[in-house]
Each structure stands twice: as C-alpha cells, then as structure tokens.
C-alpha cells in the first residue's frame, strides 16, 4: 500500500521546528497549514527524574514532497532536519533501518 515513508529516530528529535518551516516554505503554506507538526512531551520517570522527548507527526497535507522526488531530492523536512534524525525511503527498507535503532517511529505515508 504505502510505498514510501519517513523514519524518525526519536532519540534525536530536539523539537527545533526546522521540519515545520521547511515544509511551509516548500509548499508555500500560509500560517496554520503544515504537512508536519512537532510535539514536545515532558514527563516523569519512575525515579522521579524528568524526561523531555519530541516527535514530529505527518499530517494529511504531507505529499512526501513529490515535486522534489521528481528532481531526485529528499523531502525538504528530511533534508533540513538539524539533527539528521529523519530518513526518507521505501517503507520496506526503512522498516529494516528502524529495527536497528533503540527508538524510532516509521510513518508509512500515502499522499492524498
């Protein structure tokens, strides 16, 4: 079904918002529209320590940058990610890649 996807190494997403603005610039989306949204989570661990994690979510507006793909370019969010923690590719390849990481999220995605 979903041929392509985006893998995110969630240990290294710092919540910097680069992917969000990359998407808005690429698609010329106005304020309020975006193909990717980052959320930050702060929570306590059993030992009382605090943990802060961030994770991007692909919205229905994500088209996996089809236009860029035609030029052999990665999606703009993946290319610009400040910590290089995002990967684009065939979902079958990314599934193998995901398994080699302690914590990752693989979005299969079919542009609408």
């Amino acid at each position: 079904m979903a041929k392509y996807g985006i893998l995110i190494d969630t240990d290294f997403c710092t919540g910097c918002h680069t992917c969000e603005v990359a998407c808005q610039q690429e698609h010329d989306y106005p304020v309020g529209l975006n193909g990717i949204k980052v959320t930050e989570y702060e929570y306590k661990l059993a030992n009382g320590k605090v943990k802060i994690d961030c994770i991007p979510f692909l919205t229905d507006l994500c088209d996996l940058c089809m236009g860029r793909q035609a030029d052999g370019e990665r999606p703009s969010c993946v290319k610009h990610c400040q910590t290089a923690c995002m990967y684009f590719g065939l979902t079958s390849d990314l599934a193998i890649e995901a398994a080699s990481r302690p914590r990752a999220v693989l979005y299969t995605h079919t542009p609408k």
Partner: protein, 745 residues
C-alpha cells in the same frame, strides 16, 4: 515564470540574525529570492538549515521592512519619519557627527552594537575612521557575552579554544584524525536551540550520535540535560564554585594529566591551593548539586581519554564572569584536553584573516598600535576597569550609560547604533537606558525593521541589507567564507557599504586607497592569498591549511608562537593558569567564586519578599534575541512570551496553565503567559527575553508594547564585575509571581 538560479552563500546576521556560518543556497528567480535551502557542499551544516533561514523569503520581503533611508520629522518617539535619499541621509550624519567631533571630540559619539554578529568589523572600521574609541554593546552589563570568556582564554592560553566537533577539518566526522569526545560538558547552554559564537549547536548532537556522552550543567531540564549521563542541576550563578569544586576533585584524586601539567602548565601549585578552598561538600551546598554527582561528573570528565567543554553565556553572566571562565578553562588545562582530537581545540580566524576583532592583537594588526594606544586614553571605562584597558577594544557599557547622564569626564552627545535594539533587547534596567539615551543630541540607527529603539531614539534611519542582499566575508574561526549579493530590496545597503562610505567622508585621506568595499575586503583577506572573488570562485569557503590554523597539537609543532618554537603564545610558553596578566592588571591571578548579588544568602530580606530566581535568556530556534516576532512562519509557533512555572509553584500561587501573570520585583513588573512545566525547579521561573509586539502601535508611549514585555526592565544594572567583564544579572534576579486581576493581557 523565469529560470531559477541557485547560488551558494553563507548566512551571517541580518535575516537569520545569528552568529552565522551556515552554507545556504539562494534560489533566485527574476531577481527575487524565492527559496533558501541548506548547502550540502558546505562543511559547517552539511545541507541542514534552521527555521529562520528557511523563513528568509518572509523576512526579506516583509511589508514592514525599512527599505529607504528615513528622517524623523516629529518629536522623538512620535513615530513620524519621512523617506529621504541616501545622499541626504549620509550628508546629515556627516554634518551632525562632524559637528559633535568639532565641538566635543570624536569620543563624544558612541558606536553601539548588539551581540557579536557581523557588525563588529564594519562598526569598528567606522568608529576608528571617525576617531572615536567608544565601541560598545550598550546596555549589556559587563559585556556579559563571550568577551569575559575570550579574555580568560587569551590571557591564560594565549589563544581561544572551543569544543572539538571536527569543525576545523574539511572532511568533518569522516576525517581519520578526529575522534568524538568521550564526554562533553555542556555548561550553561542548550545547543539544539542555538548556534553561538562561531559554533553550530547541532554539532553537539552530531557528537552524541557518534558516541559522546553528556555532562549537562543546567538549572533546567532540557532535551539535552534529560539525555545526559550526569545532569548537574545548578543553582543559577554558582558556576564558579562548581568549576573550582570539580578542579579540586580532579587535583586531589590525582586524575589530572601529570605529563601535560609538568610540561605545559605554569602555576599548577597555586591553582591546587586555591581549588582546595572548594571542598565538595561546600560546593554542593553552594550549587545545590548533590556531592556525589559533582564527584562522578568530575571523574568522568578527567578519566576520559578526550573530553570537551561547550560553554554558554550564563558563565559570563555570573558575578565575576571572567574568573568563572578562568576556573572552567583550568579544567581542560589540567586534564590535558587542549588541542587534541575530541578535546578543546584551539580556534583561530581562518588564515589569520580578521572579520570581527576578538582581541587587542587583532585590532592592532588592523589599525596599528599608535591608533589603538591613543584610543585607550579616552576609551570609556579604561581607567576604571583593568580589562577594558588591556583586552580587546570595548568601552564599558556600565560606565558609558552613567557618563551619558553625568557628562563626566566628557559629554556623550551622539550615538551610531547598528542593528541593536538596545531598549527592547540587551539593556538591563532598560528604562534607565531609555531615559539616558533620550538626552543624546543625535542618534543614527542602521536597522531592518522599526523596533522600540528606532522608535524612541532615531533621528536618521539607514536601511540595512540581509545576507542574500550583500557582499561580505566571514572568518569567525574556520572556514573563511564569502557572502555574495544576489538580490536587491528597495534601497537597502550592506552594513559594510554604509560604514565604508561614511568612513570615507570622515577620513578621506586615510581611506583613499580603497575605491570600493570589495577592494577593502581584498586587503583584509590578503593573508589567505585569495581575493573575495577568488574565494567565491572556490565555492565560497576555504579551510586553513596545515599550520597555525589547523589542528591538532599545534603547541608541539611550533605553530602558535611568533618565534616558531614549540609552546603556547604566552610569555612563559606554557598555559599560565596562574594568570600573570591578571596579576599585572591588579586582579586576582587565580579563579574565585562570588555569590550572586541577589540570593537567599546575599539578600535574605529581599529573598523573603521575592523568593523565585528568575532565569532569562533561554534560546528559541524561532527568534534571535528581540528579532523575528513579525515573521509569520516563526511567530505562529511561539505566539506569546511565556514563563515556565513548576506545578508546585503554580499551585501555591493559584496559577493555571495559559493564564497571563505578572513577574514582579521592586523595579516593576512584566506580563507573561504561564506555562506549567517540569522544566524548572519549584524555586525558579524561566522566561525568554527580547519580547515586544511588532504588530502593536509603535509610537510612544506604546513602543510596540515593549514596557509590557521587556524583562530586562526588572533586571538591575549597571552591574559589572570587578574586572569590568561579566556580571550582568540576567540569570539571577529575584522575583515573585502575581495574578493579573483586571484588564489582563
């Protein structure tokens, strides 16, 4: 639709606003910038980018940009400006500043910049061409931003040093010489959110991905501190005690690098004795960090084969920030981590080319010893503070603002302010600065947007260009970059072009040998053997070759000293951790700790009234200091100025998430939106600086709502350290929270 051309360039300041260094590709269609992307071929960022760079099209073509010179036509603050031509604007600057120079002397005009960006080069060029020694980050008490650290490093090491993330090697992480630091102490900084002082923040994350473990010194819980092997959750402002305590552990347990100390360190016994005054229990009590954590972190750092320290501005903002920086530099010295792969690598401007002068040596190289010595005679604060006399070329911001009020020993009549929103940004005790600066006879401001400072003070406004609109060069460490103009917006001009033209008017004979600003760049770049166009032709960047500009172990290779002998560039040839320069200047030659000026210990009565320590200045990726609030893609993600409040504290004050509250003390109050968060300890609150609302009315008394939001108006100042450098109280001011009952935000 025309053809789109793609041009590589380097981001530096206006636009992204930052300290720069990233390679960016400009997509230009019919003379218009249509997109910006990271440049894969640039070793700095390797294709990556940031929200501010990716939002450049919204910045460059923003409807509020100032695109023509303007002259004030109403009273100051009325917000009435009319467009004039460049010739008229420069004629007025020449006439008004010339008149002040004739009547009072050139020293009566101050040259004001904000944080260290691309302005340091052109503003010193203009100030010295005009004849004024008074180059100043006005309002930034104690120049508490990097200069204290630079001063401590230069006087002990003879050099500057930074965490080694392979940034001075062309192949970067693939270079076989480089090794990842085993540990990185991230001391008072949040690298994913900031690219400070010639350093790309994400490099620290790159190192983490390559195995580096983190020791975080941070009062807050951040993405990075919660991933650290050791998180030393320090009481703000007590970093000096922590550094001395760690130093004591490392020396006492004999886990320092004995060979290195024996061969290359001068003053070890004196440091050992001083550090012994900071036993771990005492340090634990001062810093509120458990003793066991301090010990474990000190051991991990010292026992690592190679380890680095990446430090931030909170160190400068400690009381006696220079001494704190000195203490921290002793850690990397006694552990032998200097100029080794994955350690503290010596950082030099590429090819010895100066874009922005960081030391007295560089100023002398550029402008000659005579001029710099003469400048010392009238430089504000040089007779008060030893480091102002002997290090770099700043006038003291703390003495300057007093002198505007008193006129003693000579009057200050004019200000040239270049891309620095003093009133809405760096000025501690901002209203005092506002009142004082209102008294100036003439104020010229170079900027891109109106802001509280232009509105309150400007007589003439000159529109500056963003990085895609200008020619410039950058050598903040390595590589050296060229920045080439690809688009034109209105009548905007580059800072270099503006200052070059005005400087020629003030010193026509001295400057006649350069016809254009590019001629001048070529001369500055001469040590590299390349011209501006040569560097452009090479792709816009070049690394220093083997020699003084390339790591590692240059002290063994004879690359650091003028005489070509092995050793460091100090009188003894060793790292002088017993700081003989400080001693000569009447300062303590050894590092020491000073309690913050406001705290439970130093002001117990004030603490009873205001029991929360307010930390300011955390960085956002979306904004650079007081900039970018008008950029839609950025502002959308952080629409309001917020304050982080611990859930227990929120409960005590009966404050709910999202409620507007006041932060207050005896100096006044500001508005913030409450964010209930586990990031701060119950006795701390944290809030961002630099807030005003560009969408609000600009004319006085409103000034874009600056007095509702400017946190620095409740921060005391002037408050410089004994050396003159460091001590701005931006991280340790006592406050309390108050609910806003009526007519809130």
């Amino acid at each position: 639709m025309g053809k789109i051309d793609v041009y590589p360039t380097t981001a530096w300041s206006a636009g992204t606003g930052c300290h720069g260094g990233c390679g960016q590709n400009l997509f230009v269609e019919d003379g218009r910038l249509v997109k910006v992307e990271g440049n894969e071929d640039h070793p700095w960022n390797q294709g990556r980018s940031c929200p501010r760079a990716l939002a450049m099209t919204q910045y460059v073509y923003h409807e509020d940009r100032i695109t023509q010179p303007q002259i004030r036509v109403g009273e100051r603050g009325e917000g009435k400006f009319e467009p004039i031509s460049w010739d008229e604007a420069l004629d007025i600057c020449e006439e008004r500043m010339g008149k002040i120079r004739d009547e009072h002397g050139a020293e009566s005009v101050i040259f004001v910049q904000g944080t260290g960006r691309d302005i340091g080069g052109p503003i010193t060029f203009l100030a010295y061409s005009y004849g004024s020694p008074n180059w100043v980050q006005l309002g930034l008490s104690g120049h508490s931003c990097y200069t204290p650290r630079l001063g401590a490093m230069k006087t002990t090491l003879g050099e500057f040093a930074v965490a080694d993330c392979s940034q001075f090697l062309e192949k970067r992480y693939e270079d076989p010489e480089w090794e990842a630091p085993e540990y990185i102490i991230v001391w008072g900084q949040n690298p994913p959110n900031t690219c400070p002082d010639g350093f790309y923040g994400p490099w620290i994350v790159d190192c983490m991905q390559r195995g580096s473990k983190i020791i975080s010194v941070d009062p807050r819980n951040t993405w990075m501190s919660t991933r650290a092997e050791y998180h030393l959750q320090i009481r703000p402002g007590t970093d000096g005690a922590l550094a001395l305590g760690m130093l004591n552990i490392i020396i006492e347990e004999e886990i320092y690098d004995k060979d290195f100390v024996e061969k290359w360190v001068d003053g070890f016994d004196a440091i050992k004795e001083r550090a012994a005054e900071y036993p771990v229990d005492k340090v634990a009590a001062i810093t509120e960090i458990p003793a066991a954590d301090i010990q474990a972190a000190a051991r991990a750092y010292a026992n690592a084969k190679q380890a680095a320290i990446q430090w931030g501005v909170p160190i400068d903002m400690c009381p006696d920030g220079t001494a704190v920086a000195h203490a921290i530099s002793c850690l990397w010295t006694v552990t032998g981590n200097i100029d080794i792969p994955g350690g503290q690598v010596i950082a030099k401007p590429a090819f010895g080319v100066t874009a922005y002068p960081f030391s007295s040596e560089e100023l002398i190289e550029l402008y000659g010893k005579d001029l710099i010595t003469r400048m010392n005679e009238k430089r504000i604060g040089a007779d008060v503070y030893p480091m102002y006399k002997h290090f770099r070329g700043w006038a003291s911001p703390d003495v300057t603002i007093e002198q505007i009020e008193t006129g003693d020993p000579y009057p200050i009549k004019g200000a040239w302010i270049q891309t620095a929103n003093v009133i809405g940004g760096q000025a501690a005790r901002a209203k005092f600065h506002y009142d004082a600066m209102k008294k100036l006879d003439f104020v010229a401001i170079v900027d891109l947007f109106h802001n509280p400072t232009t509105m309150a003070l400007a007589d003439i406004i000159l529109p500056a260009a963003t990085f895609p609109e200008k020619n410039s060069f950058r050598s903040w460490w390595t590589p050296m970059d060229s920045i080439k103009k690809r688009v034109q917006v209105g009548e905007c001009r580059s800072d270099w072009e503006i200052n070059f033209e005005l400087a020629k008017r003030f010193n026509p004979e001295g400057l006649q040998r350069w016809a254009t600003v590019i001629d001048y760049f070529d001369e500055r770049m001469e040590p590299s053997g390349m011209t501006f166009e040569d560097l452009e032709a090479k792709g816009g960047w070049a690394m220093s070759p083997e020699g003084p500009g390339r790591p590692y172990r240059r002290y063994e290779k004879g690359h650091l000293r003028a005489d070509g002998k092995p050793g460091f560039n100090t009188p003894s040839g060793k790292v002088e951790i017993y700081n003989k320069s400080f001693e000569e200047w009447g300062m303590d030659p050894l590092p020491f700790y000073t309690e913050p000026p406001q705290s439970e210990a130093s002001t117990p009565d004030l603490f009873k009234k205001y029991p929360l320590v307010m930390i300011t200045g955390a960085r956002s990726n979306l904004f650079f200091h007081s900039e970018h609030r008008q950029i839609p893609w950025l502002r959308e993600k952080e629409p309001d100025p917020t304050v982080e409040i611990h859930p227990d504290t929120a409960k005590e004050y009966n404050i709910y998430d999202g409620e507007w509250v006041h932060l207050e003390n005896d100096m006044g109050h500001i508005k913030r939106k409450a964010v209930i968060s586990l990031k701060v300890k119950p006795n701390h609150v944290q809030t961002l600086h630099g807030w005003f609302k560009p969408e609000a009315e600009g004319a006085e008394p409103n000034l874009f709502n600056v007095w509702d939001y400017q946190v620095n108006q409740i921060i005391p100042g002037p408050q410089a350290s004994k050396s003159g450098f460091g001590g701005g109280q931006y991280k340790t001011t006592l406050v309390r929270l108050a609910k806003i009952t009526e007519g809130g935000a």
